[in-house]
Structure formats: C-alpha cells, structure tokens
C-alpha cells in the first residue's frame, strides 16, 4: 500500500472514530503540478487527500488559526520535518498544545515520498536531530555564495534590487507559521517603526525586521519564498540567519517543544568578538 493510501486509511479511521475532528492535508490543485491545503472533517472525504512530492507547503500555520484548537479537540496534520519543527516552536511559544495534534509525518527525498514514524512531535526528535547534524554540511545555493562573496556595497545594491520589487502584500508574513502575532510590528503606528509605504526605505525596513523576528525561529520550510509573488529570494536571508544562530549559539530552531527561544535566553560566555 502506498503511503498515500496508508495515510488515507489512517485519516478515515481517526475521523470515523472521532479521534480527530479534522485532517489538514493536501488535495489536488488547479493544475497537475499544484497541490492545495485541504481540510477534511468527514471520513467520506479522505479520498481527496493527496500525498506526493508536490506536497511542499508547510501546513503548520493553519494550526494556529483562531479557534481551531480552542475546543481542545484533536486535529491531524500532514507535516514534513520542517513542519514538525514549526509545531515545536509554536508549542514552545505557547501558541498551541502539541498534545492536540496527530501528525502524519512524511518527507520528500528526491522524488520519493517517505513516511516518518510517529504521531506526536516528541517522536520526531531523532529526525530533527539528524537534520541539525546535517545542517552545516548542506551545500550552499550558488546565489547565496555569490552574495556572500560580494562587497558590502554590492550586497546592499543586490538586496535593494530585490526589495525594490516588494509590494508589501505580506504574503511572506501570512504564509509563515511563525508570524502568528495578533498585531505585526509593521501595523503598529505609535510609533511607526517600520515605514508601511512600499518604497525603497519601507521595503528595506520591512524585510530586515521580518528577518530579525525570524532569526532563531525560522525552520526554512520555504513558505515565504514560494508565496512571494514578486520572487524575492527570502529563503536566502532566513537561511543565513539560521546558519548564524546555529554556528554562534548551537541553536537549531524547533528541536523540541520546550526549547528556549534563542533571543530570550543567553549564556554568560556567548561569543562577543565584535564588541569593543
């Protein structure tokens, strides 16, 4: 039986038995290559669930939809390892109770779909640990290497060119499971720390502030990068910051649901080479 079939069967059982009230998974999209998030509440609908290598969207953001988990009923969700990490962070930041979740874990290796064992976030600890181990070794994207070899002036110009495209649609923020704030700092206007206008300065400030707020929290699921309608390579900034917190603080976001946020904790011997 394919993993898709197994998961459909399991979803059916869970829904039929009332163990979960909803399964959040993937369904067919507009075109053959597209998959879209679907929300299954009836065992009769499980045939709509699709699981293949095109299922890349991180669905964990839906878990913090207002009211979804407040009835204390359980919800099942399809998650890749990045999704599990995101759930860990959401749990660590008190946005959800991970005991309410039943996880359908999977990963895409090459073009193969691989099932991940476990239904609770804790059971994915080994998978996440191995991701952490391999993280520094992951080959860098060529573009990232190119950017890192630039002079500061060139880098500034490069990012200016990219940010100039930004239309402040906030698709990056809305697609990101970590951007759950009730009020984003950009929408706080007393004072207006981030210029809301979509001009060069406003775009620059917005993108830099979002990157800072994601530092140590981003699981690199790629939702923002894919959501951006004007193709800004947001993944590169987030990757660079993830690399920084891993290298500097040995912090790999989302290893457990009790992980302390890297910027709300400290060590007395944290590195400080640049402080005069």
């Amino acid at each position: 039986m394919s993993i898709e079939e197994q998961y459909r069967t399991r979803a059916k059982e869970l829904l039929a038995g009332g163990a979960v009230k909803m399964v959040i998974g993937y369904g067919k999209g507009t075109t053959g290559e597209r998959r879209r998030p679907i929300f299954i509440t009836s065992p009769d609908e499980v045939e709509r669930l699709v699981l293949d290598e095109a299922c890349i969207t991180n669905l964990s953001g839906y878990l913090v939809s207002e009211g979804l988990l407040s009835d204390e009923k359980r919800v099942a969700v399809f998650l890749r390892p990045e999704g599990v990490r995101a759930v860990n962070i959401l749990a660590a930041e008190s946005q959800l109770d991970s005991d309410q979740l039943v996880i359908f874990g999977f990963d895409v290796v090459g073009n193969e779909i691989k099932a991940l064992k476990g239904i609770h976030v804790e059971e994915f600890a080994d998978v996440i640990e191995s991701l952490k181990e391999s993280a520094p070794g992951v080959a860098k994207e060529l573009l990232l290497e190119k950017i890192e070899s630039m002079s500061p002036q060139e880098r500034f110009s490069y990012w200016q060119g990219e940010f100039a495209k930004c239309i402040k649609c906030y698709a990056c923020r809305q697609a990101c499971p970590m951007c759950y704030c009730r009020r984003c700092i950009v929408d706080s206007n007393q004072p207006q720390w981030v210029n809301t206008s979509s001009h060069s300065l406003g775009n620059f400030e917005w993108n830099i502030v979002r990157a800072f707020h994601l530092s140590g929290r981003c699981v690199e699921c790629g939702n923002c990068d894919r959501a951006c309608p004007v193709n800004i390579p947001l993944r590169l900034i987030n990757h660079r910051m993830a690399e920084e917190v891993l290298g500097t603080f040995d912090h790999f976001a989302g290893t457990s649901k009790t992980q302390e946020p890297v910027l709300a904790s400290f060590k007395k011997d944290d590195s400080e080479t640049f402080i005069l």
Partner: protein, 149 residues
C-alpha cells in the same frame, strides 16, 4: 578638496555604565569629537534593533551601542540578552549589505571615561574615513521623490 566630512553619529547607551562613563569623561574634561549624539536608555536590554534603523533613517553615518561590561549589568543580565540580539542583528545587517563598520558596539563602564573618549574619537575617525553613508541616504531620498512616471 572641500572641508572635511563631519559624520553624523547616533549612540544608544545604558544609563548605568556608558552614560555615567560619558559623564566621567566630562567631569575629567577629556576632549573628544563632537559628532556623536547620545540617547540614554535604562539598559542595553532596552536597545532595540529598530533604534538602529531609525538612526540610519535620520541620516546617521554611523551608530554606536554601548553598555555595561558582561557581569556588571545593573539589571543582572540585560546586557547578556542585548549581546545575543546584537550578534544576530549584526549578522543580518552584514548580509543585507550594511558595512559592520557603520554600527559599532562596546562595553564602557562608569569608570571608563577615558575609554569612552577614545572610543568616540576612534569611531568618528573611522566613519569619517568611510565617508557619508550614501547608499542609505539614497534610500531616504527616494522616499522624498515623486512616484515614477
């Protein structure tokens, strides 16, 4: 050559250490460059990365951040938290193309009036050498221009 470039530098300091150190530089009548404008905060823990961005928006050619040495924080560990934020924000600024020389960090205690004066002089000189932060100024100027055709 026209007259030498006078950089505009904005500093964010904690009141217990660096601000007191700056006062000591004053009472000791040390002399240093007049380019730095200080904003006093209770603790380095209060210094938000947003302040740095706003200082740049206001045309600063350089930004300084300074507070108590590790272990000396009046609030026990505000500066430890601050240090982590700086690590991360600094890496971000660097990646985005803001030269690290433009944003400087230091620990200056209430007893280090001399260090304060020397630090101000050094940073002012360094930023003078770098010249005006034209790339950023351009961003700001664009916001003041009419929309394109």
């Amino acid at each position: 050559m026209s007259e030498p470039f006078e950089p505009k530098i904005i500093a964010f300091v904690c009141t217990y250490c660096t601000y007191a150190g700056a006062d000591l530089a004053g009472t000791s009548r040390l002399k240093y460059a007049p380019n730095v404008r200080i904003i006093r905060l209770p603790c380095t823990g209060r210094i938000s990365p947003m302040f740095i961005l706003k200082a740049l928006q206001k045309g600063a050619d350089g930004v300084l951040i300074s507070g108590c040495h590790p272990g000396d924080c009046h609030f026990t560990h505000g500066n430890y938290h601050a240090r982590r934020r700086w690590m991360v924000f600094r890496a971000l600024l660097e990646f985005i193309g803001i030269p690290p020389e433009r944003v400087k960090y230091s620990w200056i205690s209430a007893a280090e009036g001399v260090k304060f004066a020397e630090f101000i002089n050094k940073v002012t000189e360094d930023i003078r050498k770098l010249g005006p932060f034209e790339q950023y100024t351009q961003l700001i100027e664009e916001t003041e221009a009419a929309a394109s055709l």
